[in-house]
C-alpha cells in the first residue's frame, strides 16, 4: 500500500516538477532534454501502472489521502477505478506522444517550450483525474486549458495558431465558470470541497430528507456546462476544429487522453457522486439525464456530418472526435444508476477505444503531414504505394472507428448503443444509428482520398517517404491495441468493478448488431464508390449549392453565431470606450465651466456691479437729494467698488444678525 500511496502522489507531481527542469536541462543539451522528457513519461507510466493492481484486486471502494494545502482546503489523491483508469490512460498516452514527438518534432524551434508544456500537460491531466477535491481538480482543469492554449499556439508566429489557441482557451473558459459556479453551490451546501465530503454530505442529507435537490440539479447542469465546453460538445464544439493548428502530436494527446476527455471524466465522476442518493437521481432523471443524452446524440451526428465534408485530414479526425465523444455523452446520459448502469461503463470503455483509434489516426495523419507538408486531402491521394505501413495502420484505424467487429470500437460503441436503446427514445436511437453509418462513410472517404486513387499533382513534385520508425512504432502499438482491446472488455469491467449483463459474445448476438452492420455496408459502399471509383453522384450533391451543403460548409453556423457575438461584444466595447472618452472629458469641462463662471463673476463685479451701483445711487440721489448734490456719473474706479462693497457688506452683516436673532 505504501508503494501505491507514493506512486499516487508522484504520478502527477513528478511530471509537474520535471517540467520545470526541462529548461535547465535544455541549457546543456537538446538531446538530453528530449530524452529526459521521454524518461519522465516512462516513469510516469510506470507509476500509473503500479496503481492498477491495487484497484484491480481491491474492493472498488474509493480511497483518498490528503495533506494540508491552502487554509481550509487540502490537497489529496482520490484512488478509485475511475481515476486510475484515466490516470493510466493519460500516462500511457503521454509516453506514446513523448516518443512520437522525438521524430515528429525533430528540428522544430522552441522544443524546450514544447517539452516543458508537454510534461505540464500530462501532469495537469493526471492531477485533474486523481484530485480528491473540487478546488484541486478545478485548478488542474484550468491548467489543462492553459497548457492546451500554449501548445495549440505553439507555432506562435503563425497568426492562425495564436487565434486558435485564444479561441480554445476562451471557449473552454465559458465552461469553466459554469463548473466554478457548480463548485460554489456544492461548497455552500456541504461546506467542503472533497469528494468524500460531498458524498457523505449528500448521503447524510438524503437520509435526513433535507437534501435540496433543486439546487443540486442546478449544480448538475452547471457541471454539464463545464463538461460540454471541455469535451467540445454542442453548442461549444467549434474550438476543437480550430485546435487543429496545433502540432499533430499535441492534437493526438489532446484528443486521445487529455483535455477533451476531461469532460467525460467530470461527468462520470459526478454521476458516481450523484448516484449515492436515489432521491437525487430521481430529481435528475426527468431533465438532466435526457439533456445529456440529447447533447451527446446531436453532437454525434453533427460531428459526423461535418467530418463528411471537411477537406482537412486533421479536421476529419477532429470532427470524428467530437462525434465519438457525443457517443460517450449519450451513454453517460443513460447512466441513471451510476456505475451500475451499462451506459456509464460503456462510455468509459468507448473512451479508451476512442483514445486508441483516434490517437492512431492522429499519429498517422502526423506522419502524412510530416511527409507531404499539407493537411488538405484534395492534394493527397495514392499514398498507398509510398507509405505502405501507414496505409495498413490507417485501414485498421478506420475499421475500428467505424465499429466493425471485432475491433475495439465494435464492442464499446455497441455497448453505448445498447444502453441508449434500453433507455432512450426512438429518435435518439435512429440518430445514433445514422451517425454510425456516417462514421463509416467519412472514414472511407478520408481513406480513399488519402491513400487510394491517383497521386495528385502536388505529390508528384516531391519525394514522399514513409514516416520514421520512432513515429511508426507508437502507431503500431496503438493499432495493436485497437485490434485486441475489444476483447479486454470483461477485464476492464472487473477492473471497474461493474457487473455487466452482456457478455463479450452477447455483443454479436443481440439485436443491435445486425442493424448496426447492415447500416454500415451501404454507406460504406456509397462512400467507396464515390471517392475511390470516382462515381460522381454524391460528389455532385456535395459540390452543388443546396441547403445541406451550405449548412455543412458553415459548420451549422455555430461559428458564425459566435463570431457575431464576439463582434457584438467588441462593438459594445468600442461603444463603452467612446462613452469613456466622452465622460473622461467631463471633469475638464466642468472645471473650465467653473473658471469661466468665476471669470464672469469677476467681470461682473468689476464692470456691471459698478454700473448698477451707480444707477442705484443716482436713483436714490435723484429721489432724495434733488438739487442738493450735483452728482455726475460716478467715476468707474475700483476703489469706489471697494467702498461700496464695504458698505454693502455692512448691510449684509446687519441682515444676517437680524435673521439670526429675529429682531
Amino acid at each position: 500500500m505504501i508503494l501505491e500511496d507514493v506512486s499516487s502522489w508522484l504520478v502527477w507531481i513528478l511530471p509537474l516538477i520535471a517540467s520545470l527542469f526541462v529548461p535547465l536541462i535544455a541549457k546543456y543539451s537538446a538531446k538530453a532534454r528530449n530524452y529526459f522528457a521521454v524518461a519522465i513519461s516512462v516513469i510516469t507510466a510506470g507509476l500509473a501502472l503500479s496503481l492498477v493492481p491495487g484497484v484491480f484486486f481491491g474492493s472498488g471502494e474509493a480511497t483518498s489521502t490528503s495533506v494540508a494545502w491552502i487554509t481550509g482546503i487540502s490537497a489529496g489523491v482520490f484512488i478509485d477505478p475511475l481515476s486510475v483508469l484515466f490516470t493510466t490512460l493519460v500516462a500511457f498516452f503521454g509516453l506514446i506522444i513523448a516518443i512520437y514527438s522525438l521524430g515528429y518534432m525533430k528540428g522544430e524551434e522552441g522544443l524546450t517550450r514544447y517539452y516543458f508544456l508537454l510534461l505540464l500537460f500530462i501532469g495537469s491531466m493526471i492531477g485533474l483525474v486523481i484530485s480528491d477535491n473540487l478546488i484541486q481538480m478545478f485548478i488542474f482543469w484550468e491548467m489543462v486549458g492553459l497548457c492546451s492554449y500554449a501548445l495549440i499556439s505553439f507555432w506562435y508566429k503563425r497568426p492562425e495558431s495564436v487565434r486558435a489557441g485564444t479561441k480554445v482557451f476562451i471557449m473552454t473558459r465559458i465552461g469553466d465558470i459554469a463548473l466554478l459556479a457548480a463548485i460554489g453551490i456544492l461548497f455552500t451546501m456541504f461546506g467542503t470541497f472533497s469528494f468524500h465530503g460531498i458524498i457523505n454530505g449528500i448521503q447524510t442529507a438524503a437520509t435526513a430528507g433535507t437534501l435540496d435537490t433543486g439546487l443540486l440539479v442546478i449544480a448538475a447542469f452547471l457541471v454539464l456546462g463545464g463538461a460540454i465546453a471541455k469535451s467540445a460538445q454542442l453548442p461549444l464544439f467549434t474550438w476543437l476544429y480550430s485546435a487543429m493548428e496545433a502540432p499533430t502530436s499535441v492534437s493526438a494527446l489532446l484528443h486521445a487522453a487529455t483535455m477533451v476527455k476531461a469532460g467525460i471524466y467530470l461527468l462520470a465522476r459526478f454521476i458516481l457522486i450523484f448516484s449515492v442518493a436515489p432521491v437525487l437521481i430521481a430529481a435528475l432523471q426527468p431533465l438532466w439525464f435526457p439533456v445529456v443524452t440529447w447533447i451527446g446524440v446531436l453532437t454525434a451526428i453533427i460531428g459526423a456530418t461535418l467530418a463528411l465534408t471537411t477537406t482537412d485530414i486533421k479536421g476529419v479526425l477532429a470532427y470524428s472526435t467530437i462525434s465519438q465523444i457525443g457517443f460517450m455523452m449519450a451513454g453517460l446520459g443513460t447512466a441513471v444508476e451510476g456505475a451500475a448502469s451499462i451506459g456509464w461503463f460503456a462510455s468509459l470503455f468507448h473512451m479508451i477505444s476512442h483514445a486508441f483509434f483516434e490517437g492512431l489516426g492522429f499519429l498517422l495523419a502526423g506522419g502524412i503531414i510530416h511527409a507531404i507538408g499539407t493537411r488538405d486531402m484534395r492534394l493527397m491521394g495514392g499514398l498507398k504505394k509510398t507509405m505502405p505501413i501507414s496505409f495498413i495502420l490507417m485501414a485498421i484505424m478506420i475499421i475500428t472507428t467505424s465499429g466493425l467487429p471485432p475491433f475495439a470500437a465494435f464492442f464499446s460503441k455497441g455497448l453505448i448503443i445498447t444502453s441508449v436503446t434500453d433507455a432512450g427514445n426512438l429518435i435518439q436511437i435512429i440518430l445514433l444509428y445514422a451517425t454510425t453509418a456516417i462514421t463509416f462513410a467519412y472514414s472511407v472517404r478520408m481513406f480513399s482520398l488519402v491513400f487510394m486513387g491517383k497521386e495528385s499533382e502536388h505529390l508528384k513534385k516531391q519525394h514522399v517517404h514513409e514516416a520514421p520508425k520512432v513515429m511508426l512504432i507508437p502507431a503500431m502499438i496503438l493499432a495493436g491495441l485497437c485490434i485486441v482491446w475489444g476483447l479486454a472488455e470483461p477485464l476492464v469491467a472487473s477492473f471497474m468493478h461493474v457487473s455487466l449483463e452482456t457478455s463479450l459474445l452477447g455483443a454479436f448476438t443481440n439485436l443491435e448488431t445486425p442493424i448496426f452492420l447492415s447500416l454500415l455496408i451501404p454507406t460504406g459502399l456509397i462512400a467507396y464508390y464515390s471517392y475511390y471509383k470516382n462515381y460522381q453522384g454524391v460528389r455532385n450533391i456535395a459540390a452543388g449549392k443546396n441547403p445541406l451543403t451550405t449548412i455543412l460548409s458553415h459548420g451549422y453556423f455555430f461559428d458564425d453565431v459566435y463570431g457575431g457575438i464576439a463582434r457584438g461584444i467588441s462593438n459594445v466595447s468600442d461603444g463603452v470606450r467612446r462613452f469613456e472618452g466622452m465622460i473622461s472629458l467631463f471633469p475638464q469641462k466642468f472645471a473650465s465651466t467653473i473658471i469661466h463662471l468665476a471669470n464672469e463673476v469677476h467681470v461682473y463685479l468689476d464692470v456691471y456691479a459698478d454700473k448698477s451701483l451707480d444707477k442705484l445711487i443716482n436713483v436714490l440721489a435723484n429721489k432724495t437729494l434733488t438739487g442738493v448734490s450735483k452728482m455726475k456719473k460716478a467715476p468707474s474706479t475700483s476703489l469706489r467698488n471697494y467702498i461700496a462693497a464695504a458698505v454693502l457688506g455692512f448691510i449684509l452683516i446687519a441682515i444676517l444678525i437680524i435673521l439670526t436673532i429675529g429682531v
Binding site: 473658471i595 468665476a598 471669470n599 475700483s638 446687519a654 444676517l656 444678525i657 437680524i658 436673532i661
Partner: protein
C-alpha cells in the same frame, strides 16, 4: 507675578530697536561687511525681543493655574478707563509667533537685495515698529488700547506697502488706507455705542456688563456689534470686504507682503476671537448675541469666493494673496464652531497660515525678482530655481492640506471643530473648496515643472536668501509632524475659555 513691566518690555525694546536702527544703519553702511553686520544687528534685536517675550511667558506660566491677567498701566486696580493689558495663553501665544515670524521675515528682508527694491533703514525701522505695535495690540486689555495699537500697526503697514512708491503700490496703499480708515471709523462708532451701553471698554468688564445688559439696550448693542464686526471684517478681509487685500499684497514688495500676510492678518483674526469668543459669547446661559449664523455665512462666502477668484488669477503673487483671503474663511469656520477644538484649530491655523503665506510670498518674491510674474512666466521654474520651487511646492502642499505638512493638521482641526459644532455643511464646503485649492495650486506646480521654459537662460540661485525660507519650510514640516509642540501652548487657552463659559 506678572508686572506691567514684563508686558511692556517687549514692546518697548522693539520700539527702541526700531529707533536705533536708523543710526545703526548709518554706521554700518560704510562697512565692507554690510550684510553680515546688518544681520547681526537684527539677530541681537530679536534675541532681546525674544528674551523679553520668553520672560513674559515664563513669568506667566510660573503662576499656578494661570487665568486671565488684567493689568492697568498705572499698576493699580482695574480702573474703567485706564489703558490696560491682558495676559493669557492666547496673547502669549500670539506674542511668541509674532516675534518669531517677524524675525524670519526680517532676516529674509536683509538678504532680499535688489537694486531697485533695496530695503532701506527706514523700511527696517517700520518693520520693527509694526512688530511692536502688533505685540501691543495682542497684549492689550481693552478695546481702546487695542484700537490705538492697531491703528499704529495699520499706519506702519501702509508705509510698508507703498515702499516701492510706484503707481501700483501707491494705488494699492491708497485703497488699503481708505478701507482701513473706514474700518476704524466703523469700529470707533461701534465702540462709542458699546461704551454708552456698558460704560466700559475693558475686555473682562465689558463681558460682565454685556451679560447683564437691559433688554431695551439690546437693539443698540446689535447696531454697535454690526459696526464693530464690519470694521474688523474689513481689516480681516472677509468677503465681501476683501477687495483691498489682493491689490495691496500684490503691489507691496515681497517682504512687505510676507510680513503683512503673516502678521497683520493674524492680528485681525486675533481681535475677532477676542471679541467674538471672549466678549460677545453666542451660546450658553450668558449668551449675549448669537452671531454664529452670520459668521458661518461669511466663512462660506469667504472660502468660496477666495478660492474661486484664486482659480482665475494669472499673476502668481495675486493668486497667493487670494489664498490669504481663502485662509480667512477657514479661520472663520473655527471661530464659528465655538468649541475648544475650534479655538485650538484657529490658533494653530494662525501660525501655520502665517508661516505658509509668508513662505509663499517670500519665494514668489525671489522668483519675481528674476522677472517671472505670471503663470506662463513660471513655466519651467522648477528646473531653473529648484530649491526656491521646492519651497513653493511645500507651501502649496501645506495650503492644500497635504500631510505631513502643518496645513493638514490645521485643516483637520478646523473641519473637525465644524463637525463638532453641527456645522457639517460648512465643513463640506471647506473640504470642497480645498479641493479647488488643490486644483489651482497644482496648476501652478504643473506650470513650474511640466512646462518648458521659454528662455534657456541659466539662473544662479542665491543660497543665503533661502535660509529663512527653509527655516519656515522646515517649521511647516516639523509642526505638521509634531503639532504637539504648539498645541501644548494652546492647551491652557482652551481651559481659560472654559473658565469664562462652559463649552460643548
Amino acid at each position: 507675578m506678572v508686572e506691567i513691566l514684563d508686558i511692556s518690555l517687549p514692546i518697548i525694546s522693539l520700539i527702541i530697536s526700531a529707533l536705533l536702527t536708523i543710526p545703526v544703519f548709518k554706521i554700518v553702511r560704510k562697512s565692507s561687511h554690510k550684510t553680515a553686520l546688518t544681520l547681526g544687528w537684527f539677530i541681537v534685536v530679536f534675541i532681546i525681543a525674544g528674551a523679553t517675550v520668553a520672560n513674559l511667558a515664563l513669568t506667566y506660566y510660573s503662576i499656578a493655574n494661570p487665568g486671565l491677567l488684567n493689568l492697568t498701566l498705572n499698576g493699580g486696580a482695574s480702573s474703567i478707563i485706564s489703558s490696560s493689558f491682558l495676559v493669557d495663553a492666547i496673547s502669549i501665544y500670539m506674542a511668541i509667533i509674532i516675534v518669531a515670524i517677524s524675525a524670519v521675515v526680517v532676516i529674509y528682508t536683509v538678504f532680499f537685495v535688489n537694486s531697485n527694491e533695496r530695503p532701506s533703514d527706514r523700511y527696517f525701522a517700520i518693520m520693527l515698529m509694526l512688530t511692536a505695535a502688533l505685540l501691543g495690540a495682542v497684549l492689550s486689555g481693552d478695546l481702546l488700547t487695542f484700537f490705538i495699537f492697531w491703528e499704529a500697526a495699520t499706519a506702519a503697514a501702509a508705509f510698508l506697502m507703498m515702499y516701492r512708491k510706484n503707481a501700483f503700490s501707491l494705488n494699492a496703499t491708497l485703497k488699503y488706507l481708505v478701507m482701513v480708515i473706514i474700518a476704524s471709523a466703523f469700529v470707533l462708532f461701534g465702540l462709542s455705542i458699546v461704551y454708552g451701553i456698558t460704560g466700559t471698554l475693558n475686555f473682562i468688564a465689558l463681558r460682565d456688563a454685556l451679560t447683564t445688559i437691559a433688554v431695551s439696550d439690546k437693539s443698540l448693542l446689535i447696531l454697535a456689534f454690526v459696526f464693530i464686526a464690519a470694521g474688523y471684517a474689513i481689516e480681516a478681509a472677509i468677503v465681501p470686504f476683501h477687495f483691498w487685500l489682493p491689490d495691496a499684497y500684490t503691489a507691496a514688495p515681497a517682504p512687505s507682503s510676507a510680513f503683512l500676510s503673516a502678521l497683520v492678518d493674524q492680528g485681525s483674526y486675533y481681535i475677532l476671537i477676542r471679541i467674538l469668543l471672549y466678549i460677545v459669547i453666542p451660546k450658553g446661559p450668558n449668551a449675549t448675541l448669537d452671531w454664529t449664523f452670520m459668521l458661518a455665512i461669511l466663512a462660506a462666502l469667504t472660502m468660496i469666493a477666495g478660492n474661486i477668484f484664486a482659480l482665475i488669477q494669472n499673476d502668481v503673487k495675486r493668486l497667493i494673496a487670494y489664498i490669504c483671503v481663502a485662509d480667512v474663511g477657514y479661520n472663520l469656520i473655527a471661530i464659528t464652531s465655538y468649541t475648544s477644538l475650534g479655538l485650538i484649530g484657529n490658533l494653530y491655523f494662525f501660525l501655520i497660515g502665517g508661516i505658509t503665506t509668508a513662505l509663499a510670498f517670500m519665494v514668489v518674491g525671489i522668483i519675481n525678482k528674476h522677472g517671472f510674474k505670471t503663470l506662463e512666466d513660471f513655466s519651467g521654474i522648477g528646473k531653473k530655481l529648484p530649491l526656491a520651487s521646492l519651497a513653493l511646492v511645500i507651501a502649496g502642499l501645506s495650503f492644500i492640506g497635504v500631510p505631513p505638512l502643518g496645513g493638514f493638521m490645521a485643516k483637520y482641526l478646523v473641519f473637525t471643530s465644524a463637525l463638532q459644532a453641527n456645522l457639517s455643511w460648512l465643513a463640506v464646503i471647506g473640504v470642497l473648496t480645498s479641493v479647488l485649492q488643490a486644483a489651482y495650486l497644482f496648476r501652478l506646480i504643473h506650470y513650474m515643472y511640466a512646462r518648458k521654459s521659454k528662455d534657456a537662460t541659466v539662473i544662479k540661485e542665491s543660497k543665503r536668501i533661502l535660509i529663512p525660507i527653509f527655516i519656515l519650510a522646515a517649521a511647516l514640516l516639523v509642526l505638521g509632524l509634531f503639532p504637539q509642540l504648539v498645541l501644548n501652548l494652546l492647551e491652557p487657552a482652551t481651559r481659560q475659555l472654559q473658565l469664562i463659559t462652559p463649552l460643548p
